[in-house]
Symmetry: C2
Subunit: 135 residues, 2 copies
């Protein structure tokens, strides 16, 4: 956070930090707290997309099953681009996984989050998590 | 396009369709026409990220080298969330590649694009292309 961050940027940064904290606690209610019912998830493992909150919840089950405990889910760098009503955030993230990626252990991944202000509250309507494809 | 699309949504849809057309023509100037100098690319192959337009241009070289001709780069579904100054778009895309993915041939991938209105013109500041990781 710098002196130049707008109020919206601060709110979104806090939202994403709280969300990552909920992932570390395996707190599914916290993970979904700021998410729209019709959000669209592009996750690291298949399928190609998951539409709606029930499908989003399901994407976390294999992650928690395979992740060593305590869960690692760290924000390494987070940049936010916020307008008055629409915003997105891009991040480099680190988790720990025995399943995703060729080498078990720490896994760096990319995250893009799309948000809308709904009823004066920032709400996640899109998440895109990925790792580079192996050639 | 529907009657409900805003002027900004129409402009962004046209921008992304024009960009995909430039990819099909292998027209690098057209590909970069609406892109910010400091844009951040998360691409399908490594590296984890590419920062800045010269690095973005380099990400297209292996794609064009490996892609059968004529280049396939089709928008299968495109959804746009636009505010006055910030917007993002999410899409399912199809390309044809002999390199990326396990099976040569058609490859479906996910695309998220982040945009800012700069000097009254929508400008791409972020692209995130990915395929699901193989387990």
């Amino acid at each position: 956070m710098t002196m130049n961050d707008t109020q919206d940027e601060v709110a979104i940064r806090t939202l994403i930090q709280d969300w990552a904290g909920a992932v570390r606690r395996q707190d599914m209610e916290g993970i979904c707290r700021d998410h729209a019912a019709d959000m669209v998830m592009f996750d690291v493992p298949p399928p190609l997309e998951a539409r709606g909150l029930p499908s989003y919840v399901k994407t976390w089950e294999p992650f928690f099953r395979m992740s060593p405990k305590p869960v690692v889910f760290d924000i390494e760098r987070l940049e936010i681009v916020a307008g008055d009503e629409v915003a997105f955030a891009i991040a480099l993230m680190r988790c720990s996984s025995g399943e995703v990626g060729a080498i078990p252990g720490d896994l760096e991944f990319r995250l893009t989050v799309g948000l809308r202000k709904i009823n004066n509250r920032w709400t996640v309507v899109h998440e895109h998590h990925s790792v580079p494809a192996e050639s």
